[in-house]
Symmetry: C2
Subunit: 323 residues, 2 copies
């Protein structure tokens, strides 16, 4: 991962020199967002899969960076919608430059990302570009579902899972699939690796929901409890509503998004009920199921023992993450 | 134009049935924006050029609709940034559904527009898609310059012209060029038709600036004086600053964007100075120069008398527009 991160960082610096672009008021925020110390899990996943399939890593770098840019475009816009102040331990683009610049920086980043995908040719171009754009649409649909949930009282686990599949899962799936296209895999392997990625992404998002409550704020890069404070319905919250007794349910419903209770206080009250219900242990178990389902899809893809082991190691680094 | 508008409307209804898409909370605003009674000048320009060059109009329809969607995506986002309440005589997406939905509706519309461009193949695909994406980036850069101008005191005519070239001109240019690509024109014709479009777009934008002050609010679809009220530096304003005597200059500078004066009052004061300086006549003359420059580029393209006449008629409908 370190090696691939160096490749990505070099690409960002040499191929995409934002400092040279005008107007500075647009490209400085873009450079800032792309330069933040993100985990770069998605481009790493793409590059790794191309590599283990014997493909040309250098040739996959364009797609890897384009997908990371797509990811950052969605983060910049999400942070406007969520009124988020911090991302990766630093101020969000919206916080630092305002909503208008953040909208335009996101738009530009996405257009530039799509331009990079145009470097591919023939069949690869159509296949990768279709994947890239369909994924973008699904991410937007997922984010819209997430927004809709804020004001809906009966969000089921099924609908929540559909939402995070779109919002987070499909991008992991797309990176895995793009890696397999660039590793010249056949349609069967592409399909299983896509499913592997989607499950991995869903597991990643459930982890994220948990870290938002139980993570170390220093490592996590965002304030703890941010989801509840921003009226986000997460897996812990929805699951707690399912498990809660009558009294706990009443407290949860009356506290969530209540304009009468301060955000910090809302988080404290809701977390107390999480603890009473041992939500942490229970959600961790569910999360593990998704990691296992991802590994199962990986097995089904039948890409050989060495490749399998390398990707499993990668999955483990995500599984054990603290941020 | 009526004929082509019917084709476009049919395409929107049959090929892009937004009513079927989920979540409704995302696609209803998109359908609303695309269904608004816009002038559809850009797709008409594209289709017309393909036609006069003897190309296949049906085959150009995908690109025409995609460019109209790109245009609408930028309008949805611009209306957030400008805090605009009305567009085409109806509420803006941002006003009706809020900023968050408007951000996502714009993002989705752009991704879907780009997907449509993927219907082209081989050389046409790369050429059209490159044009489409480079144009998008320039529009964003132009909008950012426009935002920057709000707080800058010394905006020159040159910088203003660069801004509207990016914000409005290049999209007209891209539609004209795409029409020529789909009409199988060679690179020379493509280039001149691009330049023709850019000049036409700049003329169109200067007209727009004038209509914002002197238009009929019923026909214009937006409240008169919206630019000044939203602290937008327009050609009339910048030119007035150039022509003003010391006293008028002082009034213009002290009134523009002043938080101490109500928006309506600011517009009244500034318009009075426009009238003293006969800005309307003077800007109309400049506007005419851009229309003439566009026609000159058209002549240089050497596309034949019949084709030339048809496009000149189209330019005249824009020249004489009241909204």
């Amino acid at each position: 991962m370190d090696d691939n991160n160096t490749l990505i960082a070099n690409y960002l610096q040499t191929e995409l020199d934002w400092d040279k672009e005008e107007p500075k008021s647009l490209y400085k925020p873009i450079a800032y967002a792309m330069g933040q110390n993100g985990k770069r899990i998605r481009p790493n996943l793409l590059l790794l899969i191309t590599q283990v399939l014997g493909g040309d890593r250098a040739g996959a770098l364009d797609a890897a960076v384009a997908f990371e840019m797509l990811h950052n475009f969605t983060l910049i816009h999400d942070d406007i919608m969520d009124n988020a102040e911090l991302r990766r331990g630093e101020e969000t683009v919206a916080k630092q430059w305002g909503t208008n610049v953040a909208i335009l920086a996101g738009d530009t980043l996405f257009a530039k990302a799509t331009e990079i995908m145009l470097k591919y040719r023939h069949k690869q171009l159509v296949s990768l570009m279709t994947l890239f754009l369909k994924t973008t649409v699904k991410i937007c649909e997922g984010q819209q579902m997430d927004l809709d949930f804020e004001t809906q009282t009966n969000v089921t686990v099924e609908r929540y899972l559909k939402m995070i599949e779109y919002k987070t899962g499909v991008l992991f799936g797309a990176c895995a699939k793009a890696g397999s296209v660039l590793g010249s895999a056949g349609p069967r392997v592409q399909k299983y690796l896509y499913d592997f990625g989607v499950h991995l992404g869903v597991a990643f998002q459930i982890q994220d929901d948990l870290l938002d409550v139980y993570g170390d704020p220093e490592k996590f890069g965002k304030p703890i409890g941010g989801d509840i404070k921003a009226n986000k319905k997460t897996y812990p919250y929805i699951y707690a509503c399912d498990l809660a007794d009558k009294n706990q349910k009443k407290i949860l419903r009356q506290t969530f998004a209540s304009p009468l209770i301060e955000p910090d206080e809302r988080f404290t009250i809701i977390k107390e009920i999480y603890d009473e219900l041992d939500i942490k242990t229970k959600i961790l178990k569910i999360c593990d199921k998704y990691f296992e389902a991802a590994i199962y899809m990986l097995e089904k893809s039948n890409i050989g023992l060495t490749a399998h082991t390398i990707i499993c190691d990668f999955v483990d680094t995500i599984r054990l993450r603290k941020f």
